[in-house]
Each structure stands twice: as structure tokens, then as C-alpha cells.
Amino acid sequence: MELLSLLNSPVLYLICGGIIFFVAVICLVFAVRAYKMGKALGIDVTKMRRVITASATFAVLPSVGILLGVIALSGSLGTPWPWLRLSVIGALHYETQVAEAASESVGIGSLSIANMTPEAFVTIALLMSFCIMWGMIFVTFHGKAYTKRLSGEKKDKSAGASAQAQKKKKKPDLKRFGDTAMTAMFIGLVSAYIASYFGTIVSENGRFTFTGNWLPLAVAAVSALAMEGFIRIKKTGHADWVDSFSVAGSMLLSMAAAVLIGKFA
């Protein structure tokens, strides 16, 4: 509990808040430059204002969903670090998985404040920063060449269909499998963890003893049911906005169920 107080101390708010403020300034600089360039290019100012208003309103609901993610992680990592991670670069599903993997590797078992040590926390924090930085690295070293090549291809296409473009048409199958492979990869990732909850119940205290902790599997089941509910609301009510809350909402509902199950079990 003492560590959690340290993780919620003003020093951490200052470190994390400082980085978030810096990123906010970057966003502001890019927005002002784009707005000025848009005006110089003759893009209708009303259109640009409409884009700003629409993007701001569009972002409110998902942002509340992200805030729920901060709440979900705050019990095990304190508030400032999840606040930083989910304000800059991260996403809830990624942060939780990486934090769990780091907890295991550092030897504290599953992600929990009860087992957390300062060394475990800083290792988790480093891994969370490291694992997802590839997009930033690619865009730094290859972004300019890539965007230039793309705009070059566009010109080629408008000038006439090039042989290269025709060659590309032969590759849709590989692209199609790329999407399938990504889904399969996530199925594999999720299955490893869900299977470990089954394994815990059956063999945690010796093979086929059936005396292991069943709470993780129960929580996962409640979360899956809640997610199913969100998906149905989305489909039947044509409510796409539900997507913004489905993961964080399912997590919070199942975490509330964990408290109730813990009390009555």
C-alpha cells in the first residue's frame, strides 16, 4: 500500500504531467502550422473549422473510454503512469498485456499492487515504453521516404497505369492473409492467457488437484459476457459509439464482479 502512495505522489504527477504537456504543445504547433498552410493553399476556412469541431466532438466519447482505462490500471500502477501511457502513444489492451508480461518476468507473478516492488514497477514502466515505440521509430527513419514514394505512386497512376501498379494488383491475397494473420496472432495471445486460467484451476497446486484460484477465469468470463452485451447493443441499436466503451466498460464491470465474488465466495 505504501508503494501505491509513492506511485501516486506529486513527483510522479510532475514527471508524467510534464511529458503530457510537452506532447500537447507538439499537437498545438502542428495544428497551427496546418491551419496556416491550409489557408495559404486556399482551403476553405469554414471547412477547416468544421474539421476541428467535428474531431473535437468525435474524440470526447473515446477519451472518456480511455479515462476508464486509466481508472482500471490505477489500482495496480498508480494513477500518473497509466495517465501518461494512455495520453501518449499507448492503448489500454497493449499496456495491460505488456505490464502483465513484465510482472511475470520480473518475478512478482501477476500484475498486482500487493506483489509490486519499486524494481518491478520501473521494469514494467520501461517495457511499456519500449514495446510500442516501433511506429515512432519507423516514421522517424522511413516516414519521409514512404510518404514521398506514396505521393509519387499517385502521380504515376494518374499519368497512366504503370507496370508496377499492375504488379501490385497481383498481391491482394498476401494482403488478405496479412489481416488474417494479425487476427490469428491476437487469438494466440488471448488463448495463452485464458488457457493459463484453466490450467491454474486444474493444476496450480499439483496436477489435477482442481484447487487452484478460479477468480481470474470467472472475471474473464464476466468480461466476455459484458463484451458480448456491448456488441449486441451496437448491432441491434446501430450504436457505433458503444465501441468507445466496450473494452474499458467490460473490464470495469468484470472488475466490479471480482469485488462481489471476493465478498461472497
Binding site: 509513492l6 496546418a34 473515446p62 486509466v70 511475470e104 518476468s105 515505440m133 516514421v139 474473464a220 470495469l252
Partner: protein
């Protein structure tokens, strides 16, 4: 109808004003790349140094061998995922939008839908200067809104800290990970139930018969993911052969 009118206006913008300002636009793009690279590197350095800075405060240093081990498990999955995101989304977002989107994250659940929504409103095409401006404006605005909402939310959470730290809520926070994987299982399993059940059954048997692996679940993501991809490839090839006939 309105879209067609919008498109007409866009074309006239591109052919008219843009040709006059093409030099200025080139200069804008070059500065965007320079600024984008510099800011991205700075943010990267800040993010990587923050754990060490926090470590100074907590009197601890990151355990690098443990971090490397965890990276081999789950980090590789995200390396591949990041490559795919980069290749797919950069063409949609343009230069400025890409730098901002990769710095601020939450791509799939917010930045991409937001940028597409903005593009639809104005009616622009990928690769055009208008798309560059609109995407940048859209992603910058949505990022600023997220930062503001989270900052206000976190400030409101400060008085709630004693409640959030109460022991009666600990079972909730101890089960964040199962809560996440339950929701994700529902989301991904429905996309291919057959593969999901086979992989889940295989991994469950493995954990039951070799319980010592439970403590290394993150490493077991590698065989689990490999099995899922092999099964998906077989099913994909089968489907292709069926289409061929």
C-alpha cells in the same frame, strides 16, 4: 450531391490555389518532416528516460534481463503489429498526421476513425495536400481533447485515491488482466471460432500437464500465436483453393 459539390471545390482548390503555392507547400512538408522527426525522437527519449527518473525517486533501476525476456514474449507481437500499423496508416494520415498519431497513440480506437470522419466531412482523397492538412488538424485536435479529458479526469480522481486504494477494491485491481483478456477473447474468438477453440484447447492441455509453465504465460504466447497463424494459413489456403475451383 453535396459530396460531389465538395469534390468539385476540392479539385478547383488543388488546380488553382495549390499550383500557386506548391513551393510553399513543399517547404511546409519538409519542415513538417524535420519537426516531426525531432519531436518524435524527443518524445521517445522522454518516454524511455521516465522509468529511470522514477527509479531515482523510488531508489530502483529497471531489471533489463527481465524486460528482455518479457519483450521476447509479448513485445514481438507488438513489433509486428506496429509494422502493419505503420504500413497501413501512414498513407491515410499523411506526414503531419502520422508523426502526431504515432506520438499520441490510440490509433485504431480513435485517431484513424477520427481522421477518416474528418476526411469524409470535407471529401478529400489520400495523398492530396488537402488530406495532409485535414488529417493533421483532425489528429492534433483529437489528441488535445484526449489530453484535456484525461487531465480533468485524473484531477477529479485525486480526491478518490483513498477509495481506490481501499483493500475491499483490491480483488478488482488484482484481476485487471483477466478482465482484459475476457473482453478480448469475446472480440477475437468470434472472428474464427474454430481456430480459437483448437488453440485454447491445446494451450489448456499444455498448462494442465506442465503447470510450471503457468508462471511463464507471456513466453507461451509464442507457441500459441505460432499455432494460431499456422492454422489460419492452412484455412486461408484451403479457402483459396475453393475459390480457384
Amino acid at each position: 450531391m453535396e459530396n460531389r459539390e465538395n469534390q468539385g471545390r476540392n479539385e478547383s482548390t488543388e488546380n488553382g490555389a495549390l499550383s500557386v503555392n506548391s513551393e510553399a507547400y513543399e517547404k511546409y512538408l519538409n519542415i513538417t518532416h524535420r519537426l516531426g522527426r525531432l519531436m518524435t525522437v524527443l518524445v521517445l527519449l522522454l518516454l524511455l528516460s521516465a522509468p529511470y527518473l522514477i527509479g531515482l525517486f523510488l531508489h530502483a533501476v529497471p531489471n533489463l534481463p527481465a524486460a528482455a525476456k518479457a519483450f521476447l514474449g509479448v513485445g514481438l507481437v507488438y513489433l509486428i503489429s506496429c509494422v502493419a500499423e505503420y504500413l497501413i496508416y501512414v498513407p491515410m494520415l499523411g506526414a503531419g498526421g502520422s508523426y502526431l498519431a504515432f506520438i499520441t497513440g490510440n490509433l485504431i480506437n480513435m485517431k484513424i476513425p477520427c481522421a477518416i470522419n474528418a476526411r469524409d466531412i470535407v471529401g478529400v482523397k489520400s495523398g492530396t495536400p488537402e488530406n495532409e492538412i485535414i488529417s493533421t488538424l483532425s489528429i492534433a485536435t483529437s489528441s488535445l481533447v484526449t489530453i484535456a479529458v484525461l487531465a480533468v479526469g485524473v484531477m477529479l480522481m485525486i480526491p478518490l485515491q483513498p477509495v481506490l486504494q481501499s483493500p475491499s477494491l483490491q480483488p478488482a485491481f488484482d484481476n485487471v488482466v483477466p478482465a482484459l483478456f475476457g473482453a478480448m477473447a469475446c472480440k477475437y474468438y468470434r472472428q474464427d471460432m474454430k481456430i480459437s477453440l483448437v488453440v485454447l484447447a491445446a494451450m489448456t492441455l499444455l498448462f494442465i500437464f506442465i503447470p510450471s509453465l503457468i508462471g511463464s504465460t507471456s513466453m507461451m504466447v509464442i507457441p500459441s500465436g505460432a499455432l494460431a497463424i499456422v492454422l489460419a494459413y492452412r484455412s486461408f489456403r484451403k479457402g483459396q483453393k475453393g475459390e480457384g475451383k
